[in-house]
Structures are given as structure tokens and as C-alpha cells.
Symmetry: C2
Subunit: 252 residues, 2 copies
């Protein structure tokens, strides 16, 4: 297959972001309102064009910073500072996915703690955290009675893929800590799992499991009572990234 570098079909390449967080016991995704056609006025995932001189991961990190102020770290490093976890998700290139032209979008998945920077997009009117349940439950109505239309383009599919990635990845990795602040309790981590999976977990078995897995949690020595009830130990994420044996997601 010889090919001429000067004779190839031109594409536009974008990055789209699935930014997830846990708010009020619900898994939420960052959405922005579109200002132009097509899908004007509809909600969409944040994203933008990849520039000529930047890598895909750089473009994703740049878009994430522009939309949330979060800085990203690589998938290999555990979440130690306030940055968000960022990893490539998948690439979407259906010829008809953008009616204007041929656009290939490299979707990325970002996991962030709840509101380290409470300004999604700077313009609060054009960006919001929406429960993924509402976004994926096609044609429902939001809490404010506003009809929740389908996301623009193929973003509902991208979001669904990102949510599924997050749900499965917290099973066998310590990624759930990316949803937590730098210091957190076992109960807070459990509520993350419960929100992402949409199930209730036994607090006693969960506590045994996460504290018994070497390298998962490192006690900081402090305690907190911010959840009410008996004070709980504070932990940081340990160095382990892969959990073996994994957390088991209850079936059904």
C-alpha cells in the first residue's frame, strides 16, 4: 500500500471529555450548552479541536483545564494532589457524526473530586454538572422541570462508554480514590462506589476489604467527623493502582 503523504483525505480531529464526579450521592458528568449550530442550545460534552503541535493527551488536559481549572495527571500516577485522573477513552469517527464535515473525536475520561473548583467553565450559565442517570435516560426531565434532551452529536454514546469504563475500572484499580479529596474516610470512599455502581454496599465488609488490601489506603493519623457519627480515620490513596483480588460489584 504505497501512499503519497501529500495526497490523503483531510480530517478534523477533536477531543471530547467525559468528566465525572460524585455529587450528593450521584454520579454526575460535566456538560456545556452549545452556542452554535448544529444542536444549538443542546447540552454536549466539553471538547475542542486538537492543535497542530500538541499531543492528544495534551489537548485533553488543556480542554479540561479550560473547562474546570483542574490539572490532570497521567493514568500511571495515583491521585495525590488536587488534579484529576485523565485517560484516553475511545475514538469516534462515524462519517455522519458531525453533519458539517468529517470529524474524528478522541474521547477522554476524567475523574475529579467534588468541586475542588466550583466553576465549571467559568460561565455558570453554559456549563453544569448533570447526573448521568438523567443524561442517559433519554427524553426525561431534569430536577428543574426542564426537558432533558438527548446530548448533541453522539455524545450520549460517548458518555455511556465513559461511565461504563469508570464502573468497571474501579473494580480492579484504586481509581475510585480519584473521586475523593486528598484525604478521605472509608465511608466516603464507600459512598463513591455506591454512587458509581448505583448499589448499596455493606459498610463492614467494605471496610474490611479496603483496609485489608495492601497499598490501597494509607492512614494519615488524623480523624474527621464531617459525616456525623463516630469519628472516622483519614486515609490517603496508597501506591497500589491495581487491586488483586478486585472489588466485587454486586450482581443485578
Amino acid at each position: 500500500m504505497p501512499y503519497d503523504p501529500s495526497d490523503y483525505p483531510p480530517f478534523a480531529v477533536t477531543v471530547d471529555l467525559v468528566v465525572l464526579t460524585v455529587r450528593r450521592h450521584a454520579l454526575c458528568a460535566l456538560t456545556v450548552r452549545r452556542g452554535e449550530q448544529p444542536f444549538q442550545g443542546r447540552w454536549a460534552l466539553p471538547g475542542g479541536f486538537v492543535r497542530q503541535d500538541e499531543d492528544l493527551s495534551q489537548a485533553a488536559a488543556r480542554e479540561l483545564a479550560e473547562e474546570t481549572g483542574l490539572t490532570a495527571h497521567e493514568p500511571s500516577a495515583p491521585a495525590q494532589d488536587n488534579g484529576a485522573h485523565l485517560e484516553q477513552l475511545a475514538t469516534y469517527g462515524d462519517p455522519k457524526r458531525d453533519p458539517r464535515m468529517r470529524v474524528v473525536s478522541v474521547a477522554h475520561l476524567a475523574l475529579a473530586p467534588d468541586l475542588p473548583a466550583p466553576r465549571p467553565g467559568g460561565d455558570a450559565n453554559s456549563a453544569r454538572w448533570a447526573p448521568v442517570e438523567e443524561l442517559l435516560d433519554q427524553g426525561g426531565y431534569g430536577r428543574d422541570g426542564e426537558p432533558v434532551a438527548l446530548l448533541a452529536f453522539d455524545h450520549a454514546q460517548i458518555l455511556a462508554d465513559g461511565v461504563e469504563r469508570a464502573r468497571s475500572k474501579i473494580e480492579y484499580s484504586s481509581l475510585a480514590t480519584a473521586f475523593c479529596p486528598p484525604e478521605f474516610t472509608v465511608g466516603e470512599l464507600r459512598r463513591v462506589y455506591e454512587a458509581v455502581w448505583g448499589v448499596a454496599l455493606d459498610p463492614r465488609n467494605f471496610h474490611r476489604k479496603v483496609t485489608g488490601t495492601p497499598g490501597f489506603l494509607v492512614p494519615t493519623g488524623g480523624t474527621t467527623t464531617r459525616q456525623g457519627g463516630r469519628p472516622a480515620q483519614l486515609f490517603r490513596a496508597g501506591g497500589a493502582t491495581l487491586l488483586n483480588p478486585p472489588m466485587l460489584r454486586p450482581e443485578v
Copy 2:
């Protein structure tokens, strides 16, 4: 971030293929010899440009058919006919990955049985199955004494990612059957796991595990003796795609 559809940085988009099979107890990848600059004469992964009117998965399936004659089926469907498993792997877009221009490559992973069509590329001189161990063991020498140079472009990284995907995915899915012919024995399936993981497995525990997992294997009623020794039952891949609990890869 308003953007003008007529004003965007143009990219070339390609698909590259990591085609894996198991030959002679070794995990092998399909490589082709490059005829042009850059990296002329070096081995590379098969691939090519995405056409203006085709989807990414279509482009990958087309390239796979051109190089091997295999037809692909979707990741959701289990391998029932002679086709190969094909799924998207990841996308590589470093600005310098191709010295000539900005190329974004959407890599795909294909798993095929050993030689259903023994013509890799039609031109036997320009394509070959190479053990991934040689390809990833940088700077070694092949069986014929020829120095095994690094793969062209970033293809060593792409191959490593594809191999890692395959290694982890056969843990929790029935994907290992994609390396087997339509009918196979438990022992043949075990040798697939051993080749992909590079470990030895206990035949008795393996047999108990795979025959005891509902939906993994369906007996055809026939037996074979092609491996020597006592005749073995023949199986087809069952409908189950996810194994729960998963196969456990021995550590270290």
C-alpha cells in the same frame, strides 16, 4: 469555544492493526515490511488511511481483509465462524510520530486462529508472523539470524498496548476462543492461555474451571486425538462473553 468548521487544522487519519495469533506455542503478531521512506525496509504493523466515507471500524476491517483475508466480527458477537475478533485499541497522535506530517492513528486489535488463511498479505515476502517476544525485545535477533530492528514509527508501543489488552482481556472474557478454530479441545484452549500469558497452567484445574463456567464452552459431541494421547472432547465457544468469576492469571 466557538469554532469555524471551515477553519480547522487538517490531520491525516489512519488505522493500524495489531493482529495476534498463537503459533507453535508462541504469541505472534502480523508485521509487514515497509517499502518506502521513512523506515524503509523496517517491519511495521499493517495499516492505511481511513477513507472519507468509511467508519473507523470499517477501515480496520477492510485493512484486515486486505492483509489476511479474514473477515471481522464485532466485539459483542462471539467467534462462531472463521472470522477474527476485531476491536478498537487506542489512538496515537504524537505530533512527531510521523516525520512527514501530522498523522493520527486509530489502532485496532485483531485476534485470529492460527492460519485459517495462510497468506499474510498475499506477498509472502513482505509480511510475516513474528513472535511478539522478539518484536518487543528491542534489538534482538530473529530465528534466522536477521537483526530484529525496532518496529517503525511508534508501532512497538502500539503492539505492546495490544498485547497487554489481549493478556488482560482473556482473564475476564471468553476472548481466548478467538485464537482457536471453530471446534477445539480444552487442552488447545489451555495452550492459548499459556502462550498469551507465557506461563504454565495446571491442566486439571484449568479443565475444571472452563468446563464449570456456564456458557463458556458448548460440547459438540465429537472427539479428537490430534494432540496425541487420550482423545479429547471437542467444544465450541458458548454464548457467554464475560467470565464471572474470571480466569486467574498466576502472578510472577
